[in-house]
């Protein structure tokens, strides 16, 4: 589904990713972890085709992402964006409806099928009680859920999440993780998420990819990746701390 081969990305002369190769199959659920500045968000932008690698290649479903136009990428891959500031009063349903932009008719706009997808995404993420409200008046956590609903409405086979739980309380963190798991299990959506919380990552993702200074240093099950030595070496913290937070 996603295939990165030997990709190197440089920002202003500084390498953000060095010789990264990563294969993610259809229906997999993968969390990218690593300290700040490790290149996690860069990796997501690379997969989404917003960055071109200096060397190497990125493929989505067998096609090179740099040869697809943006609309074709958006039909394959949905991204939950970082919290934006909205310039105009925008209702919650209007934000969620933006997820249908890649599918709607170029002239006539949303069709009945699009409206149904919006309504279904609103139900599924559970933001129905926010309908009719200006998205700018919501709390950060509520906005994050609305943006998640937008990405769900996009109904792409790949869902990318960059820190989807930063603004959420513990209960919502768990619920978002369960929703993501449900999208993966029931709809077969391939999930690629950047997570800071190693506990959430270990609990909800069968496969973790650990990035450090632009390189993949470990790739495997939580038990394989989050060894005490690695946690000490990469994150520079006492591994006990991670074990306390991780449920197993």
């Amino acid at each position: 589904m996603i295939r990165i081969e030997g990709a190197t990305v440089a920002y202003r002369g500084r390498a953000a990713l060095r010789d990264v190769s990563l294969h993610i199959g259809a229906g997999e659920r993968v969390a990218i972890i690593g300290p700040n500045g490790a290149g996690k968000s860069t990796l997501l932008r690379l997969v989404a085709g917003l960055l071109a690698p200096a060397t190497g290649s990125v493929e989505l479903g067998g096609e090179r992402v740099d040869r697809l136009d943006r609309l074709a990428v958006a039909r394959r891959l949905a991204v939950v964006p970082q919290l934006p500031t909205l310039p105009f009063a925008t209702s919650v349903e209007e934000v969620v409806a933006l997820g249908r932009l890649p599918h709607e008719h170029p002239v006539r706009g949303m069709r009945p099928g699009d409206r149904a997808a919006v309504a279904a995404a609103i139900e599924r993420v559970g933001v129905g009680h926010l309908l009719g409200r200006d998205a700018r008046e919501l709390s950060l956590g509520e906005r994050q859920l609305v943006l998640l609903a937008m990405a769900v409405a996009q109904a792409a086979p790949i869902l990318i999440l960059d820190e989807p739980t930063v603004h959420l309380d513990l209960r919502h963190q768990v619920e978002v993780m369960e929703l993501v798991g449900d999208l993966n299990a029931r709809d077969g959506t391939t999930i690629l998420a950047v997570l800071h919380d190693l506990g959430l990552a270990a609990h909800f993702f069968p496969r973790l990819v650990l990035l450090d200074r632009g390189r993949i240093v470990a790739d495997g099950s939580p038990a394989e990746v989050l060894t005490p030595e690695r946690v000490r070496e990469v994150f520079g913290v006492d591994p006990e701390f991670v074990r306390l937070r991780a449920p197993r």
């Binding site: 989404a48 609309l71 105009f88 009063a89 925008t90 932009l101 709607e104 706009g109 449900d182």
Partner: protein, 359 residues
């Protein structure tokens, strides 16, 4: 699955379906009614008042070929057909074009305070017009003088310069564009001040141009400007999806399938073209391009597919109405009328809006 439980479980919801789905049609119907009213009033009223019945009669006879009994004089027919009709149509097209351009600039720059003149079009056009007044050559081609040509070119050139200067690397981030527009605008304003200082007897002509107006409208000018403004506006309308994507910012727009760099350049070019053509035939008329999109957004939300056509309708009605007021008050500049009506109107909208606008 547990994902369906807890807070994420669907709650009984009240879908405001009717309001969202039907309001645009109501707004559109009211807008069309307003525009027709303004057009008839704009043709009937003036220094020579022509009865609305006669106005409709003349229009019906001359435009639709209806076989109506003539209850009006030949002079009245000339006034309606050769003076007032081109004038209200120019006001209508310019008002609609400025409203569409304003909505496009606001959406593109993600800034509610943007108007069609924000990237230096106004100062570029003004400087072009002032230079035309200073050049002692009078050329007239298709009823267009040097002043119109240089205003048009000045507006387009200033946007082009702003766009090129604001490019950082391969892209032009919106803040950089806005600030560059401000800087270039200030520089051009200095040039305009200098030109006005040097203009001597031409000062009044420059000043009249800056304040804008439709008294010099003619079929010839209309025929050149209308295709530019209408085609640019339609092309903007066809890019409504891109404007919608930009609501969430450029990166999110890219994720939603918008080729941001291409769409930004195209939309900037189209909105600038509509603005430049408007400015060339009618001078600088403010507020319509700022206010009309905001009023429409308050009524139907930010969806560009609705905002663009409805703003065009409202902008057209506002401009025809403002021109009518200007004429009834003894040919005062339209820009003065739109500012006097527009500024308090804008303040009222800001107060009514549910939450403040972020800058």
């Amino acid at each position: 699955m547990p994902a369906q439980a807890g807070i994420l479980a669907p709650r009984p919801t009240r879908w405001p379906r009717v309001a969202v789905a039907r309001r645009p049609f109501v707004v559109a119907a009211v807008g069309i009614g307003l525009l027709l009213l303004a057009l008839v009033a704009g043709i009937a009223a003036g220094s020579v008042a022509i009865a609305p019945g006669d106005t409709l009669g003349i229009l019906g006879r001359r435009l639709l070929g209806l076989d109506l009994a003539r209850t009006w004089s030949a002079a009245e027919e000339t006034i309606v057909m050769d003076i007032r009709l081109p004038r209200v149509l120019t006001a209508m097209v310019v008002g609609g074009g400025l409203a569409v351009a304003g909505a496009a600039f606001q959406g593109l720059l993600r800034n509610p305070l943007a108007d069609p003149y924000v990237l230096g079009t106004a100062s570029g056009a003004a400087l072009g017009a002032a230079i035309a007044v200073l050049i002692p050559v009078r050329v007239l081609f298709l009823q267009f003088g040097l002043i119109h040509a240089l205003a048009f070119l000045g507006a387009l050139a200033s946007v082009f310069v702003v766009y090129r200067l604001s490019r950082v690397g391969a892209s032009a981030p919106m803040t950089s564009l806005l600030l560059t527009g401000y800087a270039v605008g200030s520089l051009l304003a200095a040039g305009l001040a200098m030109a006005m200082y040097l203009s001597g007897t031409g000062l009044r002509q420059i000043f009249a141009y800056l304040l804008g107006g439709f008294e010099a409208s003619s079929w010839g000018r209309l025929a050149v400007a209308v295709p530019l403004i209408v085609l640019a506006s339609l092309a903007i309308l066809l890019r409504a999806r891109s404007l919608n994507g930009m609501l969430l910012g450029e990166e999110a727009a890219a994720h939603l399938g918008v080729d941001v760099r291409r769409e930004r350049a195209l939309l900037l070019a189209l909105a600038s073209l509509a603005t430049a053509a408007s400015v060339a035939i009618s001078g600088l008329i403010g507020f319509v391009g700022l206010v009309a999109p905001h009023v429409v957004r308050l009524l139907v939300g930010p969806n560009a597919r609705l905002v663009l056509p409805l703003a065009a309708l409202l902008g057209a009605s506002l401009m025809v109405g403002a021109d009518l007021v200007a004429r009834l008050l003894g040919e005062i500049p339209v820009g003065v009328v739109t500012a006097v009506i527009g500024a308090p109107f804008f303040l009222a909208i800001l107060r009514r809006a549910r939450s403040g606008y972020e800058l």
